[in-house]
């Protein structure tokens, strides 16, 4: 059923740097996004290591507290907006047109633009590290009035966020248009791979909430420079209002960071269990309900601001309700593996690691959802442990799983399997070494975003710092594997994996520059 057009004049493109600057090809742009995320991953990781070095021992050792706070703030902004979101957008660019049997993304020129905004946004953001008054240090949540005390960096921060938002919105519009309009005949919505489904829903989330963040930070900007009082109590505003606006964006945002990973895992588990995904339709509905619920739970980030009891109870139960569709997903993945003929290649290891460790993060999330308990956990390392469990062995592991899974398809070469497994086991060991002790120090009362701590937390912090350095160095293996695979290796077949199903595996490895110019036939 391969209906690939090869060696036509369409394959011509400028070479060298101009190829990448002017490209409107979904595969090129996907590659750009992924490399951008990789670079940012190491920059953000370096910031994390500054944090962990300072926290290696109690007392102030290496950096001054203001710079420490800049590091926590910038680490979060870089990792969220510079790593996880672009990496998933890159995967979407690469895979979605192929998966739905379309020739390219729906709006290729906008696609080019949405990528090339990103380097500018991040140059602006990272340039604040060298500014008077330092980089933003009030936390990535930008709560006023603290964030309004940022120095010269402030407008750079705000406009960088505007640019990142613009980029993600354009990316999301493109993805929705591609999925709705570019599907091959016969590719009905309920036949789409789950990665496409999760991205469709994620894209709608992005379109709905990124403008709200843009609005919120615009209000911060006018409060600081144009004398408005949106969040200024002296002028009749209310700083708590910002928290509502921010988390109205922020909670759907955390699902933007995780839903595409659900799609990735739903592609990998059936491949290596050699069984079709259990409960496809329930997976789609579960994803949609998670997306819907994400809009009505935002205030669980603000249980301690002095909400009325009715509000706290509502947000507590609404939050706990999310465990139901998430549980459906985990159940379906486990059931897919049940009695499957499983093999444990690197992508499968990462996917199983995802399920186990994401679920740990999910459980600590349930603990945080309990309002009375949250008063103890709020702003402690328990929260840090929770969201790192869902983001590092959650989103990041899913991205790595996706890279190993599709790298042979992208490059035509197999990656070194043993090295991949070493990368997985080192990452898993060190990620737990880093973040598991944080649960304990958090429950014992260690506050987050503080460069020093009380002596009784010393041992666990030292363990966490060792883990962080181990995890950081393990990622050099990842970088090495990717470069090595791009440069060569044993040739991959078209199907690559024995149990792989889906349109991407019907194309040659690597796929031609333009694929599916004639729509494939969908069974």
């Amino acid at each position: 059923m391969s209906s690939v057009v090869k060696d036509t004049h369409h394959d011509e493109h400028p070479s060298g740097i101009m190829r990448w600057i002017t490209t409107t090809n979904h595969k090129d742009i996907g590659t750009l996004y992924l490399w951008f995320a990789m670079i940012m991953f190491f920059i953000g990781g370096l910031m994390a290591l500054v944090i962990r070095s300072e926290l290696f021992q109690p007392g102030l050792q290496f950096v001054d507290p203001q710079f420490f706070n800049s590091m926590t703030t910038m680490h979060a902004l870089v990792m969220i907006f510079g790593v996880v979101m672009p990496a998933f957008t890159g995967l979407a660019n690469w895979m979605i047109p192929i998966m739905v049997g379309g020739p390219d993304m729906a709006l290729p020129r906008m696609n080019n633009w949405s990528f090339w905004i990103m380097p500018f946004a991040f140059s602006m953001l990272l340039s604040t590290l060298w500014m008077d008054g330092g980089a933003p240090a009030g936390g990535w949540t930008l709560y006023p009035p603290l964030s309004l005390q940022t120095g010269d960096a402030f407008p750079f921060l705000i406009f960088a966020i505007h640019f990142m938002g613009l980029s993600s919105i354009m990316g999301a519009i493109n993805i929705v248009a591609t999925i709705l309009n570019m599907r091959a005949p016969g590719m009905t919505l309920m036949k789409m791979p789950l990665f496409v489904w999760t991205w469709l829903i994620t894209a709608f989330l992005l379109i709905a909430v990124m403008p709200v963040l843009a609005g919120g930070v615009t209000m911060l900007l006018t409060d600081k420079y144009f004398g408005t009082s949106f969040f200024n109590a002296a002028g009749g505003g209310d700083p708590v209002m910002f928290q509502h606006i921010f988390w109205f964006f922020g909670h759907p945002e955390v699902y933007i960071l995780i839903l595409p990973s659900f799609g990735v895992v739903s592609a990998i588990i059936p491949t290596f269990a050699r069984k079709p995904l259990f409960g496809y339709a329930s997976m789609v509905y579960a994803t949609a309900s998670i997306a819907f619920l994400s809009f009505i739970v935002w205030a669980h980030h603000m249980f301690t601001v002095g909400m009325p009891l009715a509000g706290e109870v509502f947000f507590m139960f609404a939050t706990m309700l999310i465990a139901v569709p998430t549980g459906v997903k985990v159940f379906n993945w486990v059931t897919t593996m049940w009695k499957g003929a499983m093999t444990f290649e690197t992508p499968m290891l990462f996917a199983i690691g995802f399920i186990v460790m994401f679920t740990i993060g999910g459980f600590s999330g349930l603990m945080l959802a309990i309002t009375p308990a949250d008063f103890q956990y709020h702003d402690t390392y328990f929260v840090v442990a929770h969201f790192h469990y869902v983001l590092v062995p959650g989103s990041i592991f899913a991205i790595m799983a996706a890279c190993y899974f599709w790298l042979p398809k992208w490059t035509g070469n197999m990656y070194p399997e043993t090295l991949g497994k070493v990368h997985f086991w080192l990452s898993t060991f060190f990620v737990n070494l880093t973040f598991f002790p944080m649960h304990f120090v958090g429950l014992a009362g260690m506050p987050r975003r503080i460069p020093d701590y009380s002596l009784q937390f010393a041992d666990y912090n030292m363990i966490a710092s060792i883990g962080a350095f181990g995890f950081g160095f393990a990622q050099i293996i990842f970088l090495y594997i990717i470069i090595k695979t791009i440069k060569g290796g044993s040739k991959a077949t078209d199907q690559v994996w024995e149990g792989a199903e889906g349109l991407e595996w019907t194309l040659p490895s690597p796929p031609p520059y333009h694929s599916f110019s004639t729509p494939p036939v969908i069974k």
Partner: protein, 180 residues
């Protein structure tokens, strides 16, 4: 080319959603204030003068503890505190007290006090007949000013509330261009 038109049509719809959500973020501000005013959440009290006549009868026999506190900015330019920290009152009766402000600098300070009531539930029942918080205040260098407050607590205040705390935060009006 039919496909291209369709894509642009879809994109336009999605851009429209984006713009509406952007506007929605600004609409949240009045929406939030309306919700707080209606429900009395957030300790917002109305900044409107009440009529004295309403409080000549229906004095409750219950006693209520009312506490006064003040907040000021940490630059320590203005000493701002209540003249008495606590009063035992009967709901339904009008009382008076005052806050005292001392300008410790040799410049004029202009600003306004913003009230807040705790517990939130009580904010609906606090009636202010006269309050310095209704208007902006000017303090000349070194001046000591007495700021009067006439208030009553509505006798409909639920019985379970035994203590009401009234807090005033003084905010100086700062010229924006001077701030940076």
């Amino acid at each position: 080319m039919k496909e291209k038109k369709l894509n642009i049509k879809t994109a336009k719809k999605l851009i429209f959603i984006c713009f509406s959500m952007f506007l929605f973020s600004f609409a949240l501000i009045p929406l939030y204030n309306v919700i707080c005013d209606v429900t009395g959440l957030n300790g917002n009290t109305s900044n409107l003068k009440e009529k004295v006549e309403a409080y000549k009868e229906n004095v409750s026999s219950e006693k209520l503890n009312i506490q006064f506190i003040s907040h000021q900015s940490n630059d320590n330019k203005l000493l701002f505190k209540p003249s008495e920290f606590e009063m035992i009152i009967s709901p339904g009766k009008v009382y008076s007290t005052m806050y005292v402000a001392t300008n410790k600098t040799n410049t004029t300070i202009v600003g306004q006090a913003v009230p807040s009531v705790s517990p939130n539930e009580a904010s609906k029942y606090l009636k202010k007949i006269e309050c310095f918080c209704f208007e902006e205040q000017t303090f000349k260098p070194g001046e000591v000013v007495k700021l009067p407050l006439y208030f009553a607590i509505d006798e409909k205040l639920p019985n379970r509330i035994k203590t009401v705390t009234l807090s005033y935060s003084f905010f100086e009006f700062v010229n924006v261009s001077k701030k940076n």
